[in-house]
Every structure is written in structure tokens, then in C-alpha cells.
Symmetry: C2
Subunit: 559 residues, 2 copies
């Protein structure tokens, strides 16, 4: 460990991941050394119309690019790795991850054309990495993807522990246990600050082991007299392994369907994270040639995503697979908030096709468990680590609050718990901690190829357009005498069904004409004034007639 400089401080903050679910990015800085933990994306909220994904604002990091020593990636989920292609484009620093994590990252970097120029460093739970004055070591955790790590950062100011996403699974599918001994040792040696996963901080008790899903899957496979379709998160390699095991036990072959599922099965298989018996995987084209009770279809679409494999099957628009009466469809996932209606619609469509659908909360369906620890596990982590300071991370504000309460309940002083927003810094010096100044943080919206070119004005316009549509009013005026040479023409989109509203639009036309003529007679002929008057008169009329407020775009040309 490097020696301590009396003037240097330890700073901890999040650029994403607190007060939200997604775009996780945490920063630990000591003096001139910055270490980043994760670089995730977030899916857009419902008011971010037309946006594809959201990534963190990394202005602070690009302004301090010479200090950034590397990005440690805890595991391969999108909300932890999905921002990497955008971050690395602006910040060429080494990326550290375990084998599966790097495997999933490499696919992304390849697509972004960044594979060659990015230094990728393979680590495992026993690695030690020197990052300037900061030394990183790691510990194994359980999560819904293999090879997940927690991070221990020894800084001259003290030890910082970041749990990553975790649960304690005492019967893990791959027999890779969370390293309780190592975690306890880290705690015994003394921890200044703990950053811990708050996702399930609202949930009492323990999260069940992933293994219980396997038992239930096998029972369902056994009872099914025809084909079985299983939709789950592509990245849940443990779940996929259990589907493979249940298929093997019931002498079924597996067809893998859906781009990300094919991708993950291929990467995880190549890297040795999936144990698939020889000859078990069949092509989707072969499904129809096999006896129905010898087939499993493993696919994407557990969130009812409109373009996913399961949704296409449910709508009978999948090119290769049809759902047949008597098929069993298992949705091995819980809807993420916001997706409930999509999932419900998919379930309805599957039932209509005659399928037997197994779905719903894991506690009812038995085919899903969370990858995040519940309150008892969070308290266990707090008590294993016994930090002086505690920063709940990875969750909406209410989850952070609940997690803070859990911290208090196990004896951490209330004033030693920091609930932060993205950009809030916590400063540590001489064993004390306090809120520091804010660094820039926020959402960068990605729409198509555009990164950050859609801001509040564009979103506000999209919202307006989505509610009542638009009317474009075009008039050509004479340069000489201001008389109307052509128009007004009114074109509407998303406002009313035009054929049934001719009278309304004719009247609107007359109002524009008379407004303009009146202004001309009064010798008002600045464009701005003409436009404002047309907009106001027309807006008033339309609101009176329809109680709608379409966007009005007056276009006045002069020739």
C-alpha cells in the first residue's frame, strides 16, 4: 500500500445507480487515483419517449482522465457493463473482469469497434490489482449470473468494500459459494466504508436459493405431455443450466431461440460456464420434426419485450416456432416494474393459443427467484463487514432508505450512514466522513446513433406531439403588399381523423385567414408577431372545439 499524504482525501461517489435501478457506476478516488466500479446502462423511463438507452454523464471522469486507473467490473449484467462502449470511447482505460464478465464485454466492444484499443485484464477472486495508491482485491458472491465479485479497495485512508450485486445462496447451482470466510476476514481486518446492494432492501427474510427453481422445472418438464417453452433472462446462466439439467433428466433436446439467448449460451458454453451434454442442442428448424414431448425451447422474452422470441411466438409471428395447443410455457422471471402489462398480454396470447402458461411471482409459480439478497442477507453482509461508515447503493431512494434502516438496526450510527444521490460525494479524512461538494452527474440519453443530442426540449416536444399531435399551417405572402398568395394550408398529424373533421379544419382555415388579414390591415407584418397571433387564435379555437392542445407550427413564406 502506498504511503499516505496528509492533504489527500478519499472521495466516494456514484455517477449512476443510486436513486434509480440501473446505470451503475461508482467512483472511489484517493488523491490523484480514481478507480471506477462498473459502467452500466439503464432502460429509459416512460417519459423518455423514443430513447433507446440511458448512460451516466461521465464529465467528471473525462475532465480527470489522467487520474483514472481503471474500471473494475463486478459482473456481466447490462446495468453494470452496458455503458462501457460509450465510456471507453471517451476514456481509454483498462477494464478488469472475470472470465465470463470479460467474455460478455468483448462482444459489446467488438460491435462498437473498440476491442483492439481496449486493454482488458482478466481477474479472478484471488487477484490483487494495484491502481495507483489503491489496491483492489476481490471476493466471490452469489448472483443471477456466474463469476460475480465483490470488491475490496485498500486506500491510504482505509478500506472500502463494494459488494456488487449479491445474495447468499447456500446451495448454489454451480457449487461456487459466496466466500463467507474471506468476507469475514475483510471485516475482521477493519473496514472504513461499505457500499452494499439495496435492490431487495424492502423485502423481509431470505431470498430462496436458485436451486429450488431447478427442482420445480424438472417436475414441470416431467408432467408436460408436449413441448416445453422456457423464457428467462439470457444472462441467467444458472437458470439456463437448470433448464439443461431438467431437459437431460426428462430426455428432451433444447432449441435455443432469440438473439441474446443464442449469444449468451454460446459465450458461456465456450468459456466453460455451461455444462451441456453432447448432442443436446438442436436447431430451431428441427423442432417441428421431433416428438413434442422430446423438446424444450429456451428463449428470450420473459419481460414481454415487443420484438423478443416469446412475444413473436405468442403473436404467431415467429418465423420458426409456433405455439401449439397443449404446449407448456414457463415464464421464469418476474416483470420489472413497467413491464407488467406487456407480460400480461403475452400470457393472454399464449393461453389463447391453447398453451398451459406458468407465470407470476416466484413465490406462486416456483420458477423464479431473485438474484439479490433480502433483508436478512443484507444484515448478514453488514455484520460480516462491520464497517464504520455505510453507503447503501444500487436502488431507488426508498430502497436505500430501507437499507439504511437495516444498517441502523445492526448498530451502525445513524450519522455514519450516507444516503446519496448521483454526484453527491462523501469525503473521508482522518477516519471521519462528511458530505463533500457535488460532481456533475446525470442521464445521457441515447437515441439511435445520437448520444446526448436529445435533451429536455426534444423530449417535451415528443410528449406534446404524442398527446394531441400537430397542425402545420402554411401560408405564402407577397413580399410587395403582404397579400396571401397561397394557403393557408393546414396539415394535421395525430390530431383528429381528418375525413370526419373536415368542418373543423375548414373553420380553422377561415380563422387563420381572417387573423392574417386583420393583422395586415393593421400593418402588423413582423413574422414573429404574425406567427404568434396565428398560433394563439388557432390554439384557442381548437381547444374550445375539441379540448385538445395540438402543437401548432405556423410557417409563413414570402415570395
Amino acid at each position: 500500500m502506498s504511503k499516505k499524504n496528509v492533504q489527500d482525501k478519499l472521495l466516494i461517489f456514484a455517477l449512476g445507480g443510486v436513486g434509480e435501478i440501473g446505470k451503475n457506476m461508482y467512483v472511489v478516488q484517493y488523491g490523484n487515483d480514481i478507480v471506477i466500479v462498473d459502467a452500466g446502462l439503464k432502460f429509459p423511463e416512460e417519459d423518455m419517449l423514443g430513447i433507446d438507452i440511458v448512460i451516466p454523464d461521465i464529465s467528471y471522469l473525462t475532465e480527470n482522465r489522467d487520474k483514472v486507473r481503471g474500471i473494475l467490473v463486478t459482473h456481466g449484467h447490462e446495468d453494470h457493463i452496458g455503458g462501457l462502449p460509450f465510456v471507453l470511447k471517451n476514456l481509454n482505460v483498462p477494464v478488469f473482469g472475470t472470465k465470463l464478465t470479460l467474455g460478455l464485454i468483448e462482444g459489446k466492444l467488438k460491435e462498437a469497434g473498440l476491442l483492439g484499443e481496449t486493454k482488458r485484464i482478466l481477474i479472478n477472486a484471488d487477484s490483487e490489482v494495484q491502481l495507483g495508491s489503491i489496491v483492489a482485491t476481490f471476493f466471490k458472491t452469489n448472483h443471477s449470473i456466474p463469476d460475480s465479485l465483490g470488491v475490496c479497495l485498500d486506500t491510504p485512508e482505509g478500506r472500502v468494500v463494494h459488494t456488487g450485486d449479491f445474495k447468499f445462496d447456500h446451495t448454489p447451482v454451480n457449487n461456487e459459494f459466496a466466500d463467507l470466510q474471506r468476507i469475514a476476514e475483510i471485516g475482521r481486518e477493519g473496514v472504513l466504508a461499505l457500499l452494499s446492494d439495496s435492490t431487495n432492501a424492502e423485502r423481509p427474510g431470505f431470498t430462496p436459493s436458485e436451486s429450488v427453481v431447478g427442482t420445480n422445472l424438472e417436475e414441470i418438464f416431467r408432467k408436460a405431455t408436449q413441448r416445453v417453452v422456457v423464457a428467462t433472462f439470457a444472462s441467467n446462466v444458472h437458470r439456463i443450466q437448470q433448464v439443461v439439467n431438467a431437459a437431460a433428466a426428462t430426455r428432451r433436446k433444447i432449441a435455443v431461440v432469440g438473439r441474446s439467448m443464442v449469444n449468451v449460451v454460446s459465450i458461456a458454453g465456450d468459456l466453460g460456464y455451461l455444462n451441456i451434454p453432447e448432442g443436446m442442442i438442436i436447431e430451431p428448424e428441427e423442432v417441428n420434426k421431433m416428438a413434442a414431448d422430446r423438446v424444450v425451447i429456451l428463449c428470450t422474452g420473459s419481460q414481454g419485450e415487443p420484438m423478443s422470441a416469446l412475444t413473436r411466438m405468442a403473436r404467431s409471428t415467429h418465423r420458426k416456432i409456433d405455439i401449439l395447443p397443449g404446449d407448456t410455457v414457463i415464464i421464469a422471471a418476474t416483470p420489472i416494474p413497467g413491464n407488467e402489462r406487456h407480460v400480461g398480454r403475452t400470457v393472454d396470447e399464449l393461453f389463447r393459443l391453447g398453451a398451459n402458461v406458468i407465470y407470476g411471482p416466484g413465490s406462486v409459480s416456483g420458477v423464479h427467484v431473485s438474484g439479490h439478497g433480502s433483508q436478512e442477507e443484507l444484515k448478514l453482509m453488514l455484520n460480516l463487514i462491520r464497517p464504520k461508515f455505510f453507503i447503501p447503493i444500487h436502488g431507488e431512494y426508498r430502497m436505500l432508505r430501507h437499507h439504511a434502516q437495516l444498517g441502523e438496526s445492526v448498530g451502525i450510527e445513524r450519522e455514519n450512514i450516507f444516503i446519496i444521490d448521483n454526484g453527491d460525494t462523501v469525503e473521508f479524512q482522518g477516519g471521519n466522513a462528511r458530505k463533500g461538494s457535488k460532481v456533475q452527474a446525470g442521464n445521457v440519453l441515447i437515441d439511435g446513433l445520437g448520444v446526448g443530442d436529445v435533451g429536455n426540449i426534444v423530449l417535451r416536444d415528443r410528449k406534446l406531439l404524442s398527446q394531441d399531435g400537430i397542425l402545420v399551417v402554411v401560408v405564402t405572402l407577397s413580399k410587395q403588399d403582404g397579400t396571401i398568395l397561397s394557403g393557408p394550408d393546414i396539415i394535421s398529424r395525430g390530431f383528429v381523423y381528418v375525413r370526419e373533421s373536415e368542418g373543423l379544419l375548414d373553420e380553422a382555415n377561415r380563422i387563420v385567414t381572417s387573423t392574417l388579414n386583420k393583422l395586415m390591415n393593421d400593418n402588423v407584418n413582423e413574422w414573429a408577431s404574425l406567427k404568434t397571433n396565428v398560433k394563439d387564435a388557432l390554439g384557442r379555437f381548437l381547444y374550445e372545439q375539441t379540448r385538445r392542445r395540438p402543437m401548432i407550427l405556423p410557417i409563413i413564406m414570402e415570395v
Copy 2:
């Protein structure tokens, strides 16, 4: 009972309420007599952009208006009465309801200017109503609003029972029990067909009694050292009564906040459905003058609705009430699918203001129970009625399917169970039943004052506009020689942030100009062709550059 005509058939169908949650409207027709049960509205689905509410298509009823004998209303919820103002505008028939139900309906009719011309007939559980050849009697049920009824329709072809929305609450708040004896008697006398509420058909067990909420509320009120805010559905009069009781027991006064809450408390109070001690209600303005531990604020906003009282308080934009640190906020409701994120955001904001928030599923929070019976209650109803034929109603397709399975499980023949879509008829004759022909059914969208003037094209345009915005391209051409006199001018809304994309729009301009000039040189000068070419060239360019597909509106003027 009128005599039977050998040629007449009994028809049962839904114009709303099956394959969906909302806009309940069921029709029972025997020969020339049509009886309608309920006329509800539905809130728009997320792809119905800009739509306010959705009501059933009643073309079949208006085409057969001389046969319609009346509308029986089972209870006063919006999804059962909200369509009445629109239906009654086109179909002036008598409306039958209990005191509270009529009270709530009258408010709506008054607003719509229909109160005078609508015949409203007060009924109670003991009423008997002759509707042509059909005789309607009623039975008391439990639901999350008082005065809820089930309907028994004796037709010459046999008896039809419609449960309305129901649960079996053995300890009802108002001591009004579901009339088990009467329901059993109806069943013993023989029932041809049962239509029964499927809302909770996916849920095992029994729905808890509303009374358990009262006990928990009182405990929370007692522990709270400062103000208590309770948000719940305005129409849940039982819940409101329990808030009143808990306030009385803990010597607190109640301020009622939010338009619909004020409305319901006033109507239910006037009609004797609420027992509020003298002097218990205070004005919202008085809240700040009272000791914090003597106050309860009863308000709307349990679904996180953007304009509701609780949401405004959470955002500190309510004119009269501020949330103060230490206040206790109880959200006594479960989010309706689609509202989870709104509720979550409200909870976060309340926590940020320092409130203690009690929320979440009723099984965790203890402050909410459903108004609909779970599987054991649905089976109890099936076994009390023991119908020959069974039509599950009131629910999404998956709920109807589960309910059908419950029907089978208690011994109803599978071929005697009809899962229907809106518009599907079931025909009964001579004790037999079969699917008949379809009648017109569907969604009528209401947007502002427009009823049904927003159709698929308008919605598709709103969707397009919401995703990538719009570009309007305006050019004025010379009538004589086709040269460009003015423009092209490109105006965009909701596409890109213009100031940062000047280069892109300049290039777009050049592409439009060169496309037009090329066409002119080739002597192509029909407008349709000019417009299509500009649209295609510009669309291609923009997609290449941005991977977005804004709506493009070329406007070509000639002078």
C-alpha cells in the same frame, strides 16, 4: 314470468369487460327484451396516446334501441358507471341502482347535462323489476364500495345470475353481509347460467376481510407522533369509514383533500353511508394550526396519479398541505398494473421529505385488501349457485381461463363453460347453449370532447411522433418554370436538439434542394412524385446519420 315463445332465444354477451379490466357492460337479451348490466369506462392502455378514457362501442344497442328495457347498475365504481354519460346520450333508457350507486351516477349525469332527461329508479336488494319478459331480482354482496349487488335475471329460457364484483367478507365494516341464504336459495331453485367476477381468479386462498385494515390503521395512527396522511381510492367508503374510526379512537381530526375524495365523502355522508362524528372534519386550511398529532389528512393519489393530491404533496406543489419530516404517510392501495412506477416515485419523494411511508402489497403493509374474492371465494360462489352453464367475466383472458379451470374443478362440464371475447354471443335454447354469431363490439376512444374521432391512423401518427419527432420541409416553387422561389425550409420538433445539429440540418437542406432540382431537370413535376422523392431521400439520409425515423412532412407550394 312471461310465457315462452318457442322461436325466441336467450342471448348473453359482453360489450366490455372480458379480455380486459374495465368498461364492463354485459347484455342479456330474450326475444325483444334487452337488459344491460353496467356501463363502465376503462383507462387507456399505454399505446393509446393522448386518450382520456375508453368506453364500449354500443352500436348493437343503438340499432336495437326499442328493445332495451334498462340498465341495471351493480355498484358505483368507474369501470361500471363511467360510461353512462356517453351511453345515455345515445340511448335514453331507465337506470336502476341502489342509493349510493345512484348518488354517484347523478353527479356524472349532472355534469353531462343529462340528469333531467334520465329516468333513475332506486332499487335495493329486495326489489323486483319487470323488464319486458325478464324479471330482475338482486342479492347483496361484499365489495370495496357499499351497496353492491348481484343480479338474478329470470327469463323464459331460464335463470341467469350475474355476480357483479364481489368478495365474501365475513366481518364487513358496515355489518352488511353478503346474502349467503339468498344466493343459496337462487342456486337451489336452479340456475341456467352464471356470470362471475374473475379479477382474482389467479390468486389462491381467501381475500382477507376489509376489517383487518381498520385494526392496522388504528395501530399506525396511535404510534404516529406527528401527522398521518392516508391516500386511498375515493370510492372505498368502507376504508374511509375505518380511517374515521381510527382517527376518532386516536383523537385526531380529518382534513379531506382531493376533488374526488371530497366528492365521495360528501355524497356518501349525505346518503348515510359514512358515520362521521360531529366536528371531526376540518378544512385543509386548518391543518397547519393544529397540533401535528391531532391531524389526519385523507386524500386521493394512491395510484401516484400526476395531478392528484398526494402527488402534489410529495412534490411540494400542493397549495395547502406540506409534508413535514416525521409525518406518517399511508398508501392504502395496491398499484394497478401500469402505475407501479408512478407510485414508486411518489414513495421516493415522500421519503426524501422525511416522511415515514407505509406502502406495498397489502400482505406486507397491512393497510390494503382487495375488494374481489380469491379462488376459494370464487369456488364458493360456483357451489352456491351450481349453474348449468358458466361464463367467467370481468377480467383479462388469463383470469377468465383460471376461473374456467376453477369451474371445472367444482364439477361444471368443460363444454358448458364459455370463455368469451367482447361481442361473442352465447345462445341458449331448450336448455342447450352454443356460441352464436358476433355482435359489433370494441373500444370507443375519448380524447377531450371527441368521442370516437381518434382512430388507428391518428394513434399510429402519435406513436411515430412520440418516438422520433417530425420534420416539416417547406418549399415554394414557381408556377411558370418550377424553380425554387423560397426554401427549402426545414423545421423539426422532437427530433434533435437543433442548436447542436446545425450541420445535419444544413446537409438535409442540400439533399432536398438537389433532389428537387434533379426532378425538375427530368421534368418530373407532379406533386405526389415530388413529395415522395423528397420524403424518401431525406428519410434515407436521416436514418443513415442518426438511426432515427422521424415523420417527414414535405409541403410544396406553388405561386
